[in-house]
Amino acid sequence: MSFRKIFTQHIHEEKCHSLSFYQKNGGYEQARKSLHDWQPDDLIETVKAANLRGRGGAGFPTGVKWGFVPKNTDKPKYLAVNADESEPGTFKDRLIMEKNPHLLLEGIIISCKAVGIHHAYIYIRGEFVFAANRLQNAIDRAYSEGILGENCLGSDFTLDVTLHRGAGAYICGEETGMLSSLEGDRGQPKLKPPFPAVEGLFGCPTVVNNVETLANLPYILEIGAEAYGKIGPEKSPGPKLFCVSGHVEKPGVFELPMGISLRTLIDEHAGGVWKGRKLKAVIPGGSSAHVLRADECDVDMDIESLAAAGTMLGSAGVIVMDETTCMVDALLNIMRFYHHESCGQCTPCREGTGWLEKIAHRIAIGEGRMEDMDLVTEVCDRMVGKTICALADAAAFPAESIVNKFREDFVAAIENGGSPAWIKRHPASTGGAATHV
């Protein structure tokens, strides 16, 4: 079966985001069927059988997550849609919300029917104002056409959808950080256990799903779990939106089957490393993933293959760095991000992210010491696995991989009095090779 695009097939057409366009192309048919013809448990089993893995970064099997929600409960159940997309290198959910918002709404309807949820919140990052407006328009249209609200699509199912804008915090992409923010508080992750499926939003059972994950649902119902499962590798199947940015000729979002090779993605789809330069480093899954050296890039872009290669698919945010990149500067940039975004609740992350940035900064400005490389690794070790959420791990993974896989850049900065960019701006001390980042 040849690969059919389901997210981006119409994105270049002018009114692709409108309801009429969506309906003309078969939109909301699967939602209608799910509401009228499907039993909730069968929906869950189908999604389990399709082996849909979460597209937000953790890759947890969606059907299994739905199954954790208690069936017998007096409490209302909620769906919290994670549209907080803040992982550096990631810009795929935005595309769906701006160009195909009704696909998201249809996925929401299907998931709510499956789990018995009557109120869904879409948590969209505060900076995505255009996408929020598009999405709100789509929601309003859906309400006025009887697709949302009471008697969705002519069924006896009621579903309310509320768009909730964030206000600038990466940590609100963490599922319980998002729930705290939805509850009107600082976006600080909560202790787990209890897990959101049992005790989440407002203390009620809550499913948290990523935008892209939900956007897969109509397709799964359309072609069936078995056919879906044959797209890409068995353990992480399906169509996938890959984001490629950085030093490539054609950065962008590419809809391809799971499992495409990283080399093909970069060289064929993204036009290869720009300006005829050589590849130096690739982040395969958003900045929280372990970095890959150029010679490590013969790997397939799926959850298992990347895990086996010592990194992860994560949010599929591929960032390409060419030979002129100083990895000390890259490290500093990434550490500054995590330092800025740490919520500050727990000790190892609050203090560790700041420490890592300060070490990277000191090396970049020519005050590094040889022992700093091992120090970074040890600090990372002391952060991993000891915190309320995974932000500390997300800072540690790039830090320890960059420092250990690109030691030569660090040694050079330590010996030459800083990163090349620093030396260029401050030529007084040494005359190192001046290359520009």
Binding site: H339, E341, G344
Partner: protein, 538 residues
């Protein structure tokens, strides 16, 4: 805290199979077996935050270490508190806690009672490998009695949770994010509630500082007495701390039956009356001073030459002092006893369950128990009339307490009109001016004896006099000397001895003793099991 379920769970703690009630957290359960897992953010009176991470232990149910303050014991759970993994987790957190923490110990008030110092000493690295610039956060006033030294703040949120859950006033918040986060107040709304001082107690580091106590003393130089606050009828358990003869600070003690872990600011900062300029420190007659050694003789002579005597007691007196007054009054025909009460203040109750009583005195129940329920009612109005009409010859009035307005307008006027007045008073004032004999009264904190709080709980107030410069003989001594002069007793007893007499002569106090009351008191109605024999015999 733990569930009320009684089911016992078997679990494994450091290789040993142990049992605890279901619902307990690992930390609570380990403590019951003598294992103290360190903590910063956890406090038994507050909700669980789980943010400091120092309490991490190794668990067989998780590849990562887990925090013991929030996870509960379960059947088959195996916990290691000192395995390599647990120690590594703890050491990691300690190192992170210290990298930005300023080396303020030499100038920080918290030194000596600082949880970070203690854990650092036990678990911390002995040197730092942090060579970067430390973070800077604000130092400012958070309220009239609280400053924050933000560089020291470890964002444990105990203070924020206290204001949300216990005082219910929510003045505090954490602002900013990451390692810029620090505790603050809304601009223009300082922390200013009647329980604010507790936030300084529970701050595990020297971030929150009491402006009342700032720079006053090093905690290890202070002497301390375990006592009870005399500010109201709650009777919060306290520790009185003094340096070189001056009280410096009151701190609450834990008593889950009285005040949990808290005390109010009125009581906490209400000790300065001990050193007021108007404090009565010498005995006086209209002719001049009376030496301490002659005071009881002077009082005895006054009493013996009185044709009819009225005793006016106050609700700050201990049961022992009241008992001695009763003995005196009973021995003098035609005498009578009544009591006066300060006007009620404001009752304040807080969402966390803590209450401040409107009754701003500690021992009304003690007075009523010893002199009868009408002592402040009909007996008081009768005595008031008798004084103003002149049918009482001599009044012996106890005008103690922590206020500066004597026994209130009505009684002050009556006392001033009495034919002969003996006034035991803490502060000088119109009620004692021109009196036949004025004697210094002990302030509430200076008393040694028993008070009964509004819940009928008998508790021991232990004198801080040995910590202070107050050295005039107390009422306990003076009254017994007067009794000796009047041949009512042959020898003076300690406060414990007087209480023993009281318990032997009164059914309400029967069975109780200073030792059985201990540090946390006992309900008066709850008779302790008989312990030991009378002193002296083996």
């Amino acid at each position: 805290m733990s569930d009320t379920s009684n089911e016992l769970i078997s679990w494994n703690l450091n290789g040993e199979v142990v049992q605890n009630e279901s619902g307990m957290t690992i930390m609570e359960a380990a403590k019951a077996h003598g294992i103290e897992i360190p903590c910063f953010c956890y406090h038994p009176g507050l909700s669980i935050a789980g943010n400091c991470r120092i309490c991490m232990v190794e668990s067989n149910r998780s590849p990562k270490p887990i925090i013991s303050c929030s996870e509960r014991i379960a059947e088959g759970l195996e916990i290691q508190t000192d395995s390599e993994k647990a120690v590594d987790a703890r050491d990691s957190v300690m190192e992170f806690q210290l990298i930005n923490h300023p080396l303020d110990c030499p100038v920080c008030d918290k030194a000596g009672e600082c949880v970070l110092q203690d854990h650092s000493y036990e678990h911390g690295p002995d040197r730092s490998r942090f060579v970067e610039d430390k973070n800077i956060r604000h130092t400012k006033e958070l309220g009239p009695t609280i400053d924050i030294w933000g560089n020291r703040c470890i964002v444990c949120t105990r203070c924020v949770r206290f204001c949300d859950e216990i005082s219910g006033t929510s003045e505090l918040c954490v602002v900013e994010r990451g390692d810029r986060s620090v505790v603050d107040v809304f601009p223009g709304i300082p922390i200013d509630n009647a329980m604010a001082g507790n936030t300084v107690d529970i701050c595990p580091v020297g971030a929150l500082i009491s402006t009342d106590f700032k720079y006053e003393a090093r905690v290890w130089n202070m002497d301390r007495t375990t006592s009870v606050c005399g500010g109201c009828s709650r009777g919060c358990n306290v520790e009185v701390e003094a340096l070189d003869g001056f009280v410096k600070r009151l701190m609450p003690r834990e008593n889950l039956d009285v005040n949990d872990w808290w005390m109010c600011d009125h009581g906490r900062y209400g000790w300065r009356h001990l050193y007021a300029d108007s404090r009565q420190v010498t005995a006086q007659t209209t002719e001049g001073s009376v030496l301490p050694a002659e005071a009881s003789k002077a009082l005895q002579q006054t009493l013996e030459s009185s044709s009819s005597t009225g005793f006016l007691v106050d609700p700050f007196m201990t049961c022992e002092e009241l008992h001695l007054v009763k003995q005196l009054a009973d021995s003098m025909t035609g005498s009578r006893v009544a009591g006066w009460l300060p006007a009620d203040g404001t009752e304040e109750s807080f969402p966390g369950g803590f209450t401040i009583s409107a009754a701003k005195y500690p021992n009304r129940k003690g007075v009523e128990e010893i002199f009868g329920a009408d002592v402040f009612g009909s007996a008081a109005s009768t005595l008031l009339n008798d004084i103003t009409s002149g049918s009482v010859d001599t009044v012996v009035a106890f005008v103690g307490g922590h206020g500066f307005d004597g026994a209130g307008a009505e009684w002050n006027a009556a006392l001033s009109s009495a034919k002969n007045r003996v006034v035991f008073t803490t502060q000088q004032g119109a009620w004692s001016e021109g009196a036949h004999l004025v004697l210094p009264a002990t302030a509430p904190l200076e008393k040694e004896g028993v008070w009964i709080n509004e819940d009928n709980r008998a508790q021991r107030v232990r004198s801080c006099r040995s910590l202070t410069d107050q050295n005039f003989p107390s009422e306990l001594v003076i009254l017994q000397e007067v009794q000796a002069h009047m041949e009512l007793r042959s020898r003076s007893l300690s406060a414990a001895g007087v209480f023993r007499e009281l318990s032997e002569s009164s059914s309400a106090f029967e069975g109780h003793s200073h030792s059985s009351l201990g540090d946390h008191g006992t309900p008066l109605s709850q008779k302790p099991a008989a312990v030991g024999s009378e002193g002296g015999e083996s």
